[in-house]
């Protein structure tokens, strides 16, 4: 135990002395949450809209007022002819153009039918889709209000409820993703690099001729990063609850326990990498390309897994972050209990034992 404490102390000396690395380790989650929270949002807010309204009657005015009132749109300019449409989209500022016909209200009153054209900049298809459906919804809403006065033979009213995330906030999606990314980065990359560094420096050899057992060396290496990760878990959760207003709907204990499990999986992966490579560069490269990339791409955080081709869906099952991401979303956002995530938990635990076993086996072979 004395050996172990001496080793952990030394490891903390390394971490605290290297201010830059420490800043990255503890600052990264904060920066990522802030970047994802405020800059890189895929929510559509205050999109600039151009309007062509030749009729200028009570109906169009009231509709435009509602569009202006919504937080998704900001009426940027009025245009006066269809010729201008092309030009304003070319400039790139305008995302949506709403074209009313002349005599909108008369059409509506006399023929019971009027048309509105929505033209969206589909160079970003997701935004275009979102904007047209928001605009349609506002128009539908208006229609419902005016038809209330009259009796229509049949009406089907759709009523939508967005469960778990009524305001459709992006943060609900990326907070679990950032957690997976940060924990993986800190644990896997840093553990792999520090162990490989000892190999490069020749200090690992000294450790191996010492009476300290190899398993103890490895565990002592992992402990400081486990502690650092706990700090990161805490800071991410605090930021998301108090700054981004993402609630923790499920049990905090369960969430933290699952996060620690994922941290252990990441540490085991780091150890495994460190037994396989001999230079810090290789360790860094494998951690980034071999782990970070699949985590971002295949965990479901950026791209929905259901939409991927089958081979990629199969591959995604081997990415630990996918399971963790699913767990965090269930527990944190949906507020489910352990019975909803026991399968994912079991898979993560299995991965932990698999990676750890492989790492220890490799470590021993190196000694023979």
């Amino acid at each position: 135990m004395k050996q172990f404490i001496a080793f952990v102390k030394k490891e903390f000396h390394h971490i605290f002395r290297d201010k830059r690395t420490m800043f990255i380790l503890l600052g990264m989650p904060v920066v990522q949450i802030i970047i994802f929270g405020f800059a890189l949002t895929n929510e559509v807010k205050n999109s600039r809209v151009a309007i062509l309204d030749p009729s200028k009657d009570a109906a169009t005015t009231s509709l435009i007022a509602q569009i202006e009132a919504s937080r998704y749109f900001e009426v940027d300019q009025y245009i006066h002819s269809t010729n201008e449409i092309e030009t304003i989209f070319r400039k790139g500022k305008i995302k949506l153009a709403i074209i009313f016909p002349s005599h909108f209200r008369e059409d509506l009153q006399h023929f019971n039918k009027a048309q509105v054209q929505l033209i969206a900049d589909a160079s970003d298809p997701n935004v275009a889709n979102t904007l047209t459906s928001y605009a349609s919804a506002i128009i539908m809403d208006y229609q419902n209000r005016i038809t209330n006065d009259r009796k229509l033979p049949y009406t089907i009213n759709t009523e939508m409820r967005m469960l778990y995330n009524p305001e459709l906030k992006g943060a609900y999606n990326f907070v679990p993703g950032v957690m997976a990314m940060v924990l993986l980065l800190v644990c896997t990359m840093m553990t792999a690099i520090t162990i490989v560094k000892e190999k490069e420096m020749g200090t690992m050899e000294i450790m191996l001729v010492s009476p300290m057992k190899p398993l103890k060396v490895v565990l002592a290496k992992a402990v400081p990063y486990l502690l650092l990760s706990s700090v990161n878990i805490a800071s991410i959760l605090l930021l998301s609850v108090f700054v981004l207003e993402v609630p923790i709907n499920g049990s905090l204990t369960l969430l933290v326990a699952e996060s620690l499990l994922f941290t252990l999986v990441s540490l085991a992966l780091g150890l495994l990498i460190s037994t396989k490579v001999d230079s810090q560069q290789t360790a860094l490269f494998i951690s980034l390309v071999g782990l970070l990339l699949p985590t971002v791409m295949l965990s479901g955080f950026m791209f929905p897994i259901e939409n991927m081709p089958l081979p990629l869906q199969v591959v995604s099952n081997a990415v630990p972050a996918k399971w963790y991401y699913t767990i965090v979303r269930s527990v944190m956002i949906k507020g489910t209990g352990f019975q909803a995530v026991w399968k994912e938990t079991l898979i993560l635990a299995g991965m932990l034992f698999f990676f750890l076993g492989l790492a220890i086996k490799n470590f021993k072979i190196r000694l023979a």
């Binding site: 050996q3 001496a6 080793f7 030394k10 000396h13 420096m201 020749g202 200090t203 000294i206 009476p211």
Partner: protein, 247 residues
């Protein structure tokens, strides 16, 4: 000087078809400075790794500090010190932190560490530098500090793998002064080196060629036997016979 602390009989290590160490036998006595010479690739490092418990022999027997290399390598580890050719202190830790760490992994008590640290720093004239980072020290001092750390836990034997690589001649002399002092206090010194003048400082030397020990005696007797004027010449005469390429 009669107590044998290293006993090696027909020690062999094979990697597949390649015999890195080929039936070597020798004894080292307590307090002796034993030079272990050989060209690169002759099998020195492999032999040393087997004796220090890092690698298991393929066949043969060896006892180090009274313990069997096959069954008791954990006990061997407790009783030996090791300093490798790679510089083995942590540059981003202070002098004291390095000492505390290495003493810690050998399970020394805090009191022992505190008292001995003061003694060692005093001896190295580093008392004022105790809280400085190791990277700020000149190479010679680092090397001497590394040696002091390797024998800090008062092992029976210390293995030095080319300890003076890249060090200036003055520091090398001082370094050897420390080796003599350690030997006088009863620590057996097992040292590999490339510098033949250093070989002459040893009580006895062995010269490995192609995995075998071709010659072993005191430096004076070796020089006489091979009709040479220095160890350098003895070494060249023997090493020239090597058929194995250096690695």
């Amino acid at each position: 000087m009669n107590e044998k602390v290293i006993i090696v009989e027909n020690l062999t290590k094979k990697f597949g078809d390649f015999t890195a160490v080929d039936h070597i036998s020798f004894d080292v006595h307590k307090g002796e400075i034993f030079g272990f010479l050989g060209a690169n690739g002759a099998g020195k490092t492999t032999a040393m790794r087997m004796l220090s418990g890092l690698s298991l022999p393929t066949s043969g027997h060896a006892r180090v500090a009274g313990f069997d290399v096959y069954k008791e390598n954990e006990k061997i580890k407790q009783n030996i010190g090791y300093m490798s050719q790679k510089f083995s202190l942590y540059e981003d830790l202070t002098v004291k932190e390095n000492i505390r760490f290495y003493a810690g992994i050998y399970g020394m008590s805090n009191r022992f560490i505190r008292e001995k640290t003061a003694m060692v720093l005093e001896k190295l004239h580093l008392a004022a530098e105790g809280d400085k980072l190791v990277k700020s020290l000149p190479l010679g001092w680092k090397q001497k500090l590394a040696f002091s750390v390797a024998i800090f836990h008062e092992p029976q034997i210390v293995f030095l793998d080319e300890p003076t690589g890249g060090v200036d001649p003055v520091t090398r002399r001082e370094f050897w002064q420390m080796i003599y002092e350690a030997a006088e206090s009863g620590i057996t010194v097992f040292v590999t080196t490339h510098y033949m003048d250093e070989a002459e400082y040893c009580n006895r030397v062995s010269i490995m060629v192609d995995g075998r020990i071709d010659a072993m005696d005191t430096p004076q007797l070796l020089i006489e036997t091979y009709d040479a004027i220095s160890m350098d010449e003895v070494f060249l005469k023997l090493a020239r016979k090597a058929t194995r390429a250096a690695d």
